[in-house]
Amino acid sequence: MLPGIEKINPDLSLLTPQLIVLGLSLLLLLIDAVVPRWRGAVMAYLTLIGYAAALVATFFMFDMNESTFYGMIRADDFSAFVNVIVLVAGILSVLVSINYMTSRAEPGSMPVPEYYALISFSILGAMIVGAAGDLVIVFLGIEMSSLAVYALTGFARHRITSLEGALKYFLLGLFASAILLYGMAWTYGATGTTNLSEIAAELANYDTSGNIEASLLLAVLLLIVGLGFKVAAVPFHMWTPDAYQGAPTPVSAYMSVIPKAAGFAAMVRLLVQALEPLADEWTIIIAILAVVTMFFGNIVAIAQTDIKRMLAYSSIGHTGYMLAAVAAYGASASIDDDLSVTSLLFYLLAYAFMNIGAFAIVTWLQDRGRGVDLSDFRGLASQSPVAALMMTVFLLSLTGLPPLVGFYAKYYVILATVDAGMIWLAVAIVLASAASAFYYLRVIATMYFAEAEQPEPVGSTPWLGAGLLAMVAGTILVGIFSGRVFDLAQGWVDALTIIPG
């Protein structure tokens, strides 16, 4: 009874955005080798065009719920939305990077051509995670994304701190990957399959009313730990501040969003989709992690004076909010109304605009020869009012102040948590937000209330400027017109449909 070797006939159209990005990455590598003179700006244009094309393709991917490659690849609204998040974040990151790469902000020179290729690969990895229908694909996607980011972190190879960040990120990433893998192995061992839908189907037969078998729970927990590392949940967050601080600023901006998005996509795929029957067990764990994370991140951020490090801790805090969104899963009577992942996805999109925006302003200052310390922001409002205003918008949005997108994001998360009956979690979110106002406001206060000490920042960064405009517009408008976005995100429930491989 040998299964005959059938001609595999995958529906590659379901992978259109991914294929576009893959093609782009290969093209970039090729150009580097063949037409070295096109290095720099031309590659950036190409990258932007490629992402835009993938984004456009993604919009045709909504309202689908199919799988291909023996169920290894899912094309549902969840994967489409993840694509939107990472591609938007990718476009923004590239816009932030272009001028930085050629500025003298980093010592020595950087291998620019590979930069865009690596970013594209990383984005591809994240998109693959979003579309994954199998543990193997989740793993491969995460690794692809991570490997590229390790290299990007150490991209300023002449700066020791950059390499140090890369090393730490890498070692711990490897460590966490091993844990994640172990969890996957246990999942496989408990269910006999690696297909996410099949795992869910398998577990659905399992009696989850009482206590869970230890080995099954171990699998869940190892997965949570591994994923917790990827999304920087406390206490698995330790790499975050060092890596963010060490990496070149555009890379920090990039990795504050896309690996996090990949991590959360994996979390949704693994926990929500595959381990859905065990939701009662993991929601509470995630909820506790969420509270610890949001408080730790937001409180330690207060003590930071290095803006990048501060934003790193802030991103840990935001991970807490997003974890809260995940923890809110499973409360609604009708799964179609479940807001947990909807709010998570919206949060990630919002976060892309505001957090990359904040890093972009840091980049903007670095491009003009300033450092990344809080004192470098002194009196910015009087020297460059527009930049200061933009930074204010981003920071206030991160604080969660209406009518900026950060508020809507947080609101939806609170909506989800309260719906899940976790009022305490909602209260924790708002208290942590209040604490976060401390340090966000300190930057604003430094820009507006302090006297300038350094000479006026001069320089020309047209691409960065365009990116900043886009991000400010996004930060203001995405929230106000969040209705449609929210509807799109609500399509994630597709992922719960069981499509066996």
Partner: protein, 247 residues
């Protein structure tokens, strides 16, 4: 106790001991050797588990490529300078052991209480034999069910290559033309690091600081800008870019 178990025990014990060797050996070379031993033992266990192809891969990839790579790096970073020590302070070590034991207890508890799923897959040894063996079946699977995974893995490997290239390739490969270059030398940092401040500057630099040496400028960060960096690389103690190695 069957022979199988005996063999397994033998292999397992050796593997664990050599694994401990990896962790405990003072000399990293010894660690590397112990690692190879572990890998070989694991290959044996893989064979026991009817994973012949994986056993081969284990030998080839790990004992072959990876270990060689490791040793290569060890040589690269000069064996004599390798630190021979255990982890930091005793508290950390104690904690590590404690945590390790605790985790092991947890995992072992899970292992011992688990209810086996049983044989759910179709690939009994007979079926495999009928299909032509482990390698054939694996190959078939890789070309069907796992075809996309194989392709993604290919990309991952490509990414790994590019990433390593980006990090490890020397600067000179990046910069077109090797003629007149402006090098950056940090005076405050011995051996090119950012960590310590040099106790005393070489005499030639003192001269240049006074503006007597031609082709040298200071900028306000305490960094020397030189027209010809090679002039200042007589001592590796504070040569920033090890330019002499690339010559």
């Amino acid at each position: 106790m069957s022979t199988e178990v005996l063999i397994f025990d033998l292999l397992a014990v050796v593997a664990v001991i050599s694994a401990l060797g990896v962790v405990l050996a003072r000399n990293p070379i010894h660690s590397a050797v112990a690692l190879v031993v572990t890998f070989i033992n694991l290959a044996g266990i893989f064979v026991m588990l009817h994973a012949e192809f994986l056993a081969a891969v284990q030998l080839i990839v790990y004992t072959g490529a990876v270990t060689v790579l490791i040793v290569f790096v060890i040589f690269l970073v000069r064996v004599n300078d390798l630190p021979e020590f255990y982890g930091g302070n005793p508290v950390q070590r104690a904690f590590a052991v404690l945590i390790g034991l605790a985790l092991f207890a947890e995992v072992a508890a899970a292992i011992l209480t688990r209810s086996a799923l049983g044989s759910t897959g179709p690939w009994t040894s007979e079926v495999i034999a009928e299909a032509g063996g482990n390698v054939q079946v694996l190959g078939q699977l890789l070309y069907t069910e796992f075809s996309i995974a194989v392709q993604i893995t290919a990309v991952v490997l490509l990414v790994g290559t590019v990433a390593a290239l980006v990090l490890a390739r020397p600067d000179s490969a990046l910069l077109p033309g090797r003629g007149k270059r402006t090098g950056l030398i940090s005076l405050g940092h011995p051996r090119g690091t950012d960590r310590e401040v040099a106790a005393a500057l070489p005499a030639s630099l003192e001269a240049s600081r006074r503006g007597e040496a031609p082709g040298v400028r200071f900028d306000d960060r305490g960094v020397v800008l030189v027209d010809n960096a090679e002039v200042f690389t007589e001592s590796t103690a504070w040569g920033g870019d090890r330019l002499e190695e690339e010559e």
